[in-house]
Amino acid sequence: MAKVMTSGGEALIRALADENVDIIFGYPGGAALHIYDAIYQQERVQHILVRHEQAATHAADGFARATGKPGVCLVTSGPGATNAITGIATAYMDSIPLVVISGQVPNHLIGTDAFQETDMMGISRPIVKHSFLVQKPEEIPVIVKKAFHIATSGRPGPVVIDVPKNLTDPNEKFEYKFPSDLYLRSFALYDEAQDRDVKKAVKLLTEAERPVIYAGGGAINSNAAEEIYEFGKLMGCPVTNTLMGLGVYPASDEQFVGMLGMHGTYEANMVMHEADLIMAIGARFDDRITNNPNKFGLQAKKIHIDSDPSSIDKIINVDVSMTGNAKKVISQINKELKAMNFDNKKFSPWMKKAMQWRSEHGLNHNMLNQKNTGDIILPQQVIQSAYKATGGKAFVTSDVGQHQMFAAQYYHFNEPRKWINSGGLGTMGFGLPAAMGVKFAFPDETVACITGEGSIQMCIQELSTCGQYGLPIKIINLNNRALGMVKQWQDMQYGGRYSSISYEDSLPDFIKLAESYGHVGMKVEKLSELEAAMEECFALKDKLVFLDVYVDPDEHVYPMLKAGGDMSEMFLSKTEKTFK
């Protein structure tokens, strides 16, 4: 093959293309200009110009969550890099593969407090899986390859590549070589589980009386949905998903008891509390799940499958642990269960018990048809209406707060990668840019961003990006004129002292705002108008629609676990609770 001579900037973009990247999200600036010049002179990698670097990271993140492929973004040094930090931390907390390329001041200026200099390696260190500071332009292709490998393998996560400007100089060319193999010292990856552990797990599973399958984001990351469905059917027991795991087991399946945890369903939390065996798959016993870890699953033996050995025995000690790829480990378990012709009939009384809990205090999925609140729109009704209008088939991104919990509870996710939200870091402002990333990945699919008037204003500038690239995202704004989740906590724990949650008089007219960016704005204030507006919103295929829905400002998210309690201790409504 003929020698290809490239500059560092050209090598960087060429290496991205060689990694099969066809889209990156970014924002130019001084230290990244050589790289931007290289982008201009090629066609393999498309660059999407956002309006704020935080949005670049969230868009790349949304792209990654929806596709399973790594998301890529490019920012400049200094403020470009620091603006990207929130998005990197968001991806880190949810184990999302991102490659973040940041421009840096020239080598010889590092450490001099140069213009737009910031120590990106230092600032990002606690929130990256790994990071690289490029030292020589020739090593750029190898670093890119390593970055993608590290970002996507094992427990995925964000990787930063910090590139000093002088190393991308268009006048300094070298021979471009994209490596075919990589060498990483002692880079442990876990794949299948050991037979011995699989047998131990199967023994516990088959000897249990009241097992529950608890699957999280790791199950989605390892594309284990099919295997988990088969496993669920082999077991015939209740299945629950975490906020991050929604969709990995179909919500419409009869064994699915809903989301668990802080705002999980009554039946999911009761099942977890009463189970004698908890099977955790790609879930990390997060504090929003376990409530008080000292009171968690006291009756249960525990099995834990995770790709990250440090997740095992971190919060909850388990009886059998299998470090590995959930897809492969569950296949191993399924094979054993099938080989022994396991009869799951003995779990039917337990499954019936779960259904009984559901009939007692399960979520009301029929609120849309029970028009007993007059004109007032309940936020749950908006989600139910969106579900109805999309046939449950949309990609749904969300921001953070009450609307996020209502969406998680009431939009039934039947497939993985359709529910895209910031679970770990809880980043307001995530929803709209994440929806952009999803829409670029799946231009023919319906993409809805369920948000609130608080969150949407944190990245509202991206309405401009959506205009530039013609992204017909549907923004469903649950407008309760206050920071709803904070208000709920202030209601429940601070005697209704509403500290800094209100801005009602200064909210923008979202309709005019959307229109000023060239989009369609629609406002709904009465329940009787909701369904028609929702239908129209999704029927406008080529337009971004900002559907501003005025919802009941006093509604709370329930169930809600009692702070410091066990998983059976829940507030069920403003007047009911399961504990004394």
Partner: protein, 170 residues
Amino acid sequence: MNHIALLMENQPGALSRVIGLFSQRGYNIDSLSVAPTQDETLSRLTMTIGEEGADINQILKQLYKLVDVVMVQNLSEADSLTLELALIKLNKSKTDVENLLKNYEFEREILDEKDNYTVFKVLGDTREIEKLLSELKKEDFLEVTRSGTLGMTKGNESLATNDQTKISYD
């Protein structure tokens, strides 16, 4: 007290990742020593974690997760040798220092002295060095510097490095 031995890539930033992990996860390092090994691409650290109740297994797993970390071992769980060097400068005469050191087993050597001060080195077990320091009064000290504990296992085993893992793409 736990002594952890760790091999890592001898690269800029690697040490800050190891140290950063401790503050990030809320653990304390009592002492740390680090230098390149016979293989110049690797650095070796010995860390001492004194904290009661620290979850050492979790610390080891978190350390091993770092891409730059090649191998980690808890020396306190193996039959190991540990050694620390301290340089101590006291407001005391040579005779006073020699009297003071009589009850200790560690190697010692007086390196510099005059009527009103003595500089000496001690080489030995960390606990013994700490016992000596605690025996002295605040006003006895001019200054102290310690190497941090160094450690390795006994026997003919070594903190093995996996060879470079080759990752091939089709």
